[in-house]
Symmetry: C2
Subunit: 187 residues, 2 copies
DNA sequence: GTAGCTAACTAATGTCATTATTAACTGCGT
DNA sequence: ACGCAGTTAATAATGACATTAGTTAGCTAC
């Protein structure tokens, strides 16, 4: 088990993703990742730059995965109104991979080209959906920001247990969808 | 300086709030708080139960402060349409005290009565504002969730640098306000 | 097969939270 | 004035973590 365990950046990132999804992003430590891979933590430094670097890789991994999933869902038939499909896909991903989702939202400190690019791709998908409402470009960009805000905030408050009351979440999703759709139409 | 430094829960919480606002919530450590107060970290245990307990106290402090500020703003003349006043107050608070705001959103693990109560008070204020649109009770509660989601998500994405593009934030706020107002009216 | 690269190791340092224990101060009653 | 009880801060110690440096051992190309 000891020498040549066969580590690489990808397996380390996946291990980190698993821990993040199971225990939360803040529980991702090099010690745990190493333990999971049957290796001592300093060995990880042969492949990654340290914990912040690993979290950054996880963020890129997450944004790219989100982009893939959401884009796929958008193109899956829901032609005329992709908005609901995209919103649902967004929320589904955030629930399925909570830790990875969380990582994906944290913009790296030093501007990371790769993360930025992946993030922009995701925005493009949302922009395509909003375009159906025929707004001017600037208004569409603002609208995408509002849409992202609502989705992200919903995920966060839900996850944090911020919605104290025993009120059906699915219904809230429905209200959010209706409110946003009507709101955009009125811009 | 050594014996009887005059610590108490309040001064410790304020010190933690300062660090959270200046360096971020995750930078709040007992070591830093103690250093700031001119004391060794174990001394803090005479007043608080540990780091998680301190963060919890910070959360309660934050929710209560938010409630006070937002309620005050709502009652300050903007009678007929308090929604904009409340939204603005929310965003202003989140910008002015980023660390405290962040703490306020984290529901404590073991259900904390005090936090829950303070949090409910805040929801009541938002509910009062939404009530102006004359919805049934359940719809109003869902709407408050959506409103909170949008505000919280906006704050988070903005803070995380998630809005990559150089697009005026004030305008986005404006769009968010219009979109939500129109959206609620259409429910 | 061996030279050199790479990947994993051990050892060591420093930061942190936390617990147990001890010493010093404060206020109170006498 | 004096001492006692409760409180507050201290030191000492433990254990988890990230990170760096230096070392060893496997792999690969010649």
């Amino acid at each position: 088990m000891s020498p040549r365990a066969g580590l690489d950046v990808s397996s380390i990132t996946i291990a980190a993703a698993d821990i993040a999804n199971e225990e939360g992003l803040e529980q991702v430590t090099l010690a745990k990742v190493a333990r999971k891979l049957g290796v001592r933590s300093p060995s990880l430094y042969n492949h990654i730059g340290g914990l912040p670097d690993l979290i950054e890789k996880l963020a890129v991994y997450g944004v790219e995965k989100m982009h893939t999933v959401i884009k796929y869902e958008m193109n899956s038939g829901h032609g005329e109104n992709g908005l609901k499909a995209v919103m649902t896909a967004y929320l589904t991903f955030a629930r399925a991979e909570p830790g990875v989702y969380e990582a994906a939202q944290k913009a790296p400190e030093q501007h990371n080209e790769v993360w930025q690019a992946a993030s922009n791709q995701l925005v493009q998908v949302l922009l395509a959906v909003v375009a159906a409402f025929d707004l001017e470009e600037k208004a569409a960009l603002h609208t995408v920001r509002v849409l992202r805000s609502a989705l992200h905030g919903f995920v966060m408050l839900d996850r944090a247990g911020g919605f104290g009351l025993p009120l059906d979440l699915q219904e809230t999703e429905e209200v959010m969808y209706k409110l946003i759709t009507a709101g955009i139409a009125k811009l």
